[in-house]
């Protein structure tokens, strides 16, 4: 495993995530545009599509909020994990931000001075399902991140209660979180883990339905309810308030049922690198 090669790949992925709208997200926005009849909402969707095209050509960030960079690292059992590897990936993200003139949006939460590129958040996981090393770069914008929510339900809560909480979270998010959204949901685990799962759900293909039958039905029900809210692209009304709802679940405690919601804006960005070992 060549460390400098990994750093270079990470830098390239940062640019890709920031300049090129994900094809799956683009597909759903295009679909929403074609079926929209509200003229202002249609205009909003056209702006989004034109902007994505311009960003790709000009090599400029789709959105000026180039996000707080989150990195998901997944390693097979053959990968030797070291502090050096993690530091290299973090440095690759920082340099990728700097070299591509992305925004220095990271500050100390109390002092709020000297915005920089330092403060990349890394999550490390091991998986037997992959070969080599998988690195996902996820720059998360904060207009949508600010609308995240967590609710610790009673274990006896109905699916309908959970669905209503998710719909209410999206309704509260409103026009300022940059709809049409992709809504990430995490069910189970602990309070922190449900929110992490919700974030991870945004990394799944948004144009593919869930392989779990119950979750697939829930996703469909929630999406239908959300798209009846009438918020629409940029809050201009119309048919599409959300492009997709993505749910992930994991086992939890008999006493609890944590549900986390992470809202993704229409400029949902990520890029994946697969490194062979």
């Amino acid at each position: 495993m060549n460390i400098s090669k990994i750093k270079h790949k990470v830098e390239t992925a940062v640019a890709k995530a920031s300049f090129d709208l994900r094809p799956d997200v683009h597909r759903l926005i295009k679909r929403a545009y074609l079926k929209e009849s509200n003229s202002r909402a249609r205009k909003g969707l056209k702006w989004i599509l034109d902007n994505a095209q311009l960003a790709a050509i000009e090599r400029l960030a789709i959105c000026q909020d180039t996000g707080l960079p989150i990195v998901f690292i997944e390693a097979s059992k053959k990968v030797k994990i070291s502090a050096l590897l993690i530091e290299t990936i973090k440095k690759g993200v920082e340099d990728g931000f700097r070299k591509n003139s992305l925004r220095a949006s990271i500050v100390d939460p109390i002092e709020r001075k000297n915005p920089s590129y330092k403060g990349v958040i890394c999550h490390l996981n091991f998986s037997t399902g992959i070969k080599g090393l998988k690195v996902i770069i996820f720059p998360k914008g904060f207009g949508s991140e600010n609308k995240s929510a967590l609710k610790m339900f009673n274990p006896t809560a109905s699916l309908e209660e959970i669905e209503d909480f998710i719909v209410k979270t999206v309704n509260d998010a409103g026009p300022e979180a940059c709809p049409p959204f992709v809504v990430g949901v995490g069910i189970g685990g602990t309070a922190d883990y449900a929110l992490l799962l919700a974030k991870k759900a945004l990394l799944d293909r948004v144009d593919k339905s869930n392989s779990n039958k119950i979750l697939k039905t829930m996703e469909g029900n929630i999406l239908k309810k959300i798209n009846k809210l009438g918020i629409g692209p940029m809050g201009f009304g119309g048919k599409t308030t959300a492009l997709a709802v993505k749910i992930k679940k994991t086992s939890t405690h008999i006493a609890g049922l944590p549900v986390g919601v992470n809202v993704g804006c229409h400029a949902l960005r990520s890029a994946t690198i697969d490194i062979k070992i």
């Binding site: 400029l60 909020d65 001075k113 409103g174």
Partner: protein, 176 residues
């Protein structure tokens, strides 16, 4: 589509209605969270502001770094409601228009009505589309705030929708 030039005349401003699509041409000033905090703190202390707000337009925006050879980087609007608590002293100093994204509080809507101002919505998450409309870009103060510094932009045909008009009508429901 109607083109509006800065400074926006009283007559032109009053004729705008929530929902109107317009193109804005002229000077606008970027300012967001920390710059607002500083401006309002200067006003409270009775000190001079780094620029005259009379008749001006503030754009809630923190652009990316400017790539070599370009006028500006990606420069879309940020969430306006975070600036809601800072609006009144700025309007009192003569601010006429604000550009951003999303809903405002009822208080801000009423202040806009009282001061005959206007709140514009810019295409959110469309920072490149908007960058193409920026002809000039100069940092005028608070440069240590990086993307939160105040920049004077000259924009041409900047596409906007009237969010709240001088009569206090809004295209959105109030935030709270």
């Amino acid at each position: 589509m109607q083109t509006i030039k800065v400074p926006i005349s009283k007559k032109q401003g009053n004729a705008l209605n929530a929902g109107d699509s317009i193109l804005l041409t002229g000077v606008i000033y970027t300012s967001r969270d920390q710059a607002h905090k500083r401006l309002v703190s200067l006003i409270k202390k009775g000190k001079n502001l780094p620029f005259n707000l009379k008749g001006q337009v503030i754009y809630y925006c923190g652009p990316t770094s400017t790539p070599k050879g370009k006028v500006i980087g990606s420069c879309g609007p940020t969430t306006s409601s975070r600036m809601d608590d800072f609006v009144e002293p700025l309007l009192k100093k003569g601010l006429v228009a604000m550009i951003g994204k999303g809903r405002r509080s009822s208080k801000v809507r009423n202040l806009i009505k009282k001061h005959k101002g206007v709140y514009f919505i810019a295409p959110s998450g469309c920072g490149v589309l908007l960058a193409k409309k920026v002809i000039a870009n100069d940092t005028i103060c608070f440069s240590e705030l990086g993307p939160e510094s105040i920049c004077e932009l000259y924009v041409e045909n900047f596409p906007l929708i009237v969010g709240i008009d001088s009569k206090g009508n809004s295209i959105y429901k109030d935030l709270r």
